[in-house]
Every structure is written in structure tokens, then in C-alpha cells.
């Protein structure tokens, strides 16, 4: 097979590959955004002074960080259907679809990681600044809203960027529950063309490009939020 023929084969499947890319991007994008939303209360509770507030988010985070995403995916997609209650409930039409299952699992998975990042960031806020805010007469709530969270976001942003890229790579397993993401499309093409080497290579290149784009995007956001500036003050 010559290079021209190889390229022709790839070109023939370009529309499908593009669709797969969109599915992957959509899944990852939604998961990390909704995950961030859920992670904020989780991370705050995780950084609490009281052990009984810490206990629940701790076990949640422990479970989701300690088991493989693939397993969690199967637990949600295949596992839940074991219960008659769920199958009969009004939620079933929603939970039956692989797309929603993948989104739910990835969101839960990533929110555990983001919560942990947030906790680290909150605890990295210099205690002096919090004390200063309190000394100026801010309430606990105000201190959290105006001082701690804006600082924590800047401290945690690089780690959040890493998490997005890790999720992008982790999302490659959703093809196992019949999702047509990049990997799903590649598998279908492989079973039609038997060009395993070629199309796994294509998959690798596609993920690599998305990773590079994401890295650059986050670099821009970091510059925009002046993450470096807040780092120098420490």
C-alpha cells in the first residue's frame, strides 16, 4: 500500500472521524464543566474543619479515584439495570442510553479529581490572607467568596488544565459501551478495512492534536487570569 492509497483511505473516512471527534469533545467538555460545578461543594466540604463534614466527600473521592473509569462505566451502564426498581422507574429511558451513562460516569469521575484539586488549592491559600480578610471585618462567607475562592481558582487552574487533558485521554474507553467517539469510529473503520496499524496511528495523532490545542488554550487562560502574578506574591 502506497502513501497515496493510505491517505485516500483516511480521506474516505474523514467525515466519520470528524463526528467522532465532536462526540469526544462534547463528552469531555460537558463532563469537566458539570464536574467543576459539583466539585465546588465537594471540595469545600473536603477542606472543612469538621470531620463529619469531611467524611462523605472523602469516601466519594476515595472511591472514584481508587477504581478505574472503565469499571465505573460498566457499573453504571450494565450494573444499574440489575435493579428492577430502576428499570421500572421513569428514569430508565434516560439511563438506558450509552451517551447519558458515559456523561454521568465521567462527570462523577472527574468531579472527584477536581474536588481534590480544589481542596489542595484552598489549603494552599496563605492563612495570613484569610486572617487579614477576617480582621478587616469580612464574614466567613465574604472571605470565602472574595478572598479564598478567587485565589484558589488561580492556584488550582494549572492542575485543572491537566485534569481536562487526563479526562480527554480517559474518555477513550467510552467506546466499550457502544459510544461512537474517536475510538469507537476507529474501531468501526478497523473492522471494515483491517488497516489496524494505520488507523490506530490516526487515532493517536488525533488525540495528540487535541491535547496540544488544549494545552495552548489553557496557557492562554492562565495568562489572562495572571496565574503567574499571583504565584510571585507567595
Amino acid at each position: 500500500m502506497t502513501w497515496a492509497e493510505r491517505w485516500a483511505t483516511i480521506e474516505r473516512f474523514l467525515p466519520q472521524l470528524w463526528d467522532g471527534t465532536l462526540v469526544t469533545l462534547q463528552l469531555v467538555g460537558l463532563a469537566v464543566l458539570i464536574g467543576l460545578f459539583f466539585a465546588i461543594p465537594l471540595g469545600l466540604a473536603r477542606a472543612s474543619r469538621h470531620w463529619y463534614v469531611r467524611a462523605l466527600p472523602y469516601s466519594y473521592i476515595f472511591f472514584f479515584r481508587g477504581t478505574p473509569l472503565l469499571l465505573q462505566l460498566f457499573l453504571v451502564y450494565y450494573g444499574i439495570s440489575q435493579f428492577e426498581v430502576v428499570r421500572k422507574s421513569f428514569l430508565w429511558p434516560y439511563l438506558r442510553e450509552p451517551y447519558r451513562c458515559a456523561l454521568i460516569t465521567m462527570t462523577m469521575h472527574t468531579s472527584a479529581y477536581i474536588a481534590e484539586i480544589l481542596r489542595g488549592a484552598i489549603q494552599a491559600v496563605p492563612p495570613g490572607e484569610v486572617e487579614a480578610a477576617r480582621a478587616l471585618g469580612m464574614s466567613r462567607r465574604q472571605a470565602l467568596q472574595y478572598i479564598i475562592l478567587p485565589r484558589a481558582i488561580r492556584i488550582g487552574l494549572p492542575a485543572y488544565g491537566n485534569e481536562v487533558i487526563l479526562m480527554l485521554k480517559a474518555s477513550a474507553v467510552v467506546y466499550t459501551i457502544t459510544m461512537m467517539d474517536i475510538m469507537g469510529v476507529i474501531r468501526t473503520i478497523n473492522s471494515r478495512t483491517y488497516q489496524y496499524e494505520l488507523f490506530f496511528f490516526v487515532a493517536g495523532v488525533m488525540y495528540l492534536i487535541i491535547t496540544l490545542v488544549f494545552t495552548q488554550l489553557f496557557r492562554l487562560v492562565e495568562r489572562w487570569l495572571k496565574v503567574d502574578a499571583s504565584r510571585q506574591q507567595r
Binding site: G66, T67, L71, Y78, V173, Y196, E197, F200, F201, A203
Partner: protein, 214 residues
């Protein structure tokens, strides 16, 4: 099987990591470029892709090699393919950990070694490596825990590890939730066990060092 797979990948991955790190801190251009290429490419591509590529993507290459030795049916077993794929990924991340650790070792020690007439290999073996272990241990521990979870991906190429067994049991009994939860608990147990072992190793490696308290 999960444990065996993760240990095999750990051993091979550490080797990749050490080689990668020595390439990256080398004062010659070519190894530095190769090392950089290795880490950025491997870390930019999902582990799933590596695992599948190692298994399905090497069939014709292995057949060609096999034909050369007079055995055209030669192919990588799921275990070997999985080990290579996981080790490749582990090695790329370990390269960065080792590189950081190598840079943390004062240059004067290497020069002292040279002044005493030790060969470069000997300096590495006797002076650098023992200290590298101590500095790199926490980072490597994290990577090992991540890799342990990535072993679940090897079930995709039909290796009979925890994930695959759980799948078989779930299909046979029609109780997927029970068996996947059981598998999850096994992973959690392994994680806790490894964390304990790491803690012990770290304490041992840090004998005689005062920890910086903030």
C-alpha cells in the same frame, strides 16, 4: 493477574523512565530530542489507544518478524502487549519524575566522583541511583497507583484480569452490579495496600533525613 501485570509493567516502565530521564538530561542534543519526543508523544495519546495498538496494531509486524525466524504465526500475547503498552505510558511519566529527581541531586557529587576516578557508569550506580530512589519515590508511587487502574484497560484485549473476570461473572449470573462493585472493592483494597507499602518504603528511604515542616 492484575498484580502480576502491574508489577511487570512497573519493572519495564522504570527502565523506560530511567533511560528517558538520562536521555533528557544528557548534554548531547540527539538524546535530549529523542527523550522529549518520547514523553510528549506518549503522554498525548490515551492509554487505551496504546493498549489496543500494541495488541492489534503489531499483528503484521510480528508476523513479519516471525516469518523471518520461520514461525509466521508469531504474535504478542495479551499479557506481553499489555505490559509493553502500560510500561510505555508509565515510563513517559516516570521520565519526568526521574528527571526532576536527577536535577535535585547536587552536581558537585558527580564531580567528586569523577575526581576520585570513578567511571561514569559507576558514579551513576553508586552515587546517583541510591539517592534518586529517595527523591523519586513519592512521584513514582502516585504513578504506580494510576497504572494499577490502567491495568483494567488490558481487559479490552482479553487478558483474564480482575475486570475481565468480573465481566465474565456478570454475564453468567446476570448480576452485573454485584460483580462490578466487588471488582471495585478489590481495586480499592489494592490501592490501600500499595499506599501502605509506599508509606513504609518512604519512611525507610528517608531515614536520617529531617522533613521540611511548613
Amino acid at each position: 493477574m492484575t498484580i502480576r501485570l502491574s508489577l511487570a509493567s512497573l519493572a519495564l516502565g522504570l527502565l523506560f523512565g530511567l533511560l528517558g530521564a538520562s536521555a533528557k538530561v544528557s548534554d548531547k542534543r540527539v538524546p535530549r530530542l529523542l527523550g522529549g519526543f518520547y514523553t510528549s508523544v506518549v503522554r498525548g495519546v490515551p492509554e487505551t489507544v496504546w493498549v489496543l495498538m500494541m495488541y492489534f496494531g503489531t499483528v503484521s509486524a510480528m508476523n513479519a518478524i516471525g516469518a523471518w525466524f520461520g514461525n509466521p504465526q508469531l504474535s504478542l500475547s495479551p499479557f506481553v502487549a499489555g505490559t509493553f503498552a502500560l510500561a510505555l505510558c508509565f515510563g513517559a511519566y516516570a521520565t519526568e519524575v526521574f528527571r526532576g529527581a536527577l536535577l535535585a541531586i547536587p552536581k558537585g557529587q558527580k564531580e567528586a566522583g569523577q575526581a576520585l576516578g570513578m567511571s561514569n557508569l559507576r558514579i551513576f550506580w553508586r552515587i546517583t541511583l541510591p539517592q534518586l530512589w529517595r527523591v523519586a519515590l513519592p512521584g513514582l508511587g502516585n504513578l504506580y497507583l494510576i497504572m494499577l487502574k490502567d491495568t483494567a484497560l488490558v481487559s479490552l484485549i482479553t487478558l483474564e484480569e480482575i475486570m475481565r473476570k468480573a465481566q465474565t461473572a456478570a454475564n453468567a449470573t446476570k448480576e452485573p452490579f454485584t460483580f462490578y462493585l466487588l471488582a471495585a472493592l478489590i481495586y480499592l483494597f489494592l490501592t490501600v495496600f500499595i499506599m501502605g507499602a509506599l508509606h513504609w518504603f518512604e519512611r525507610r528511604a528517608n531515614r536520617g533525613f529531617v522533613r521540611t515542616e511548613l
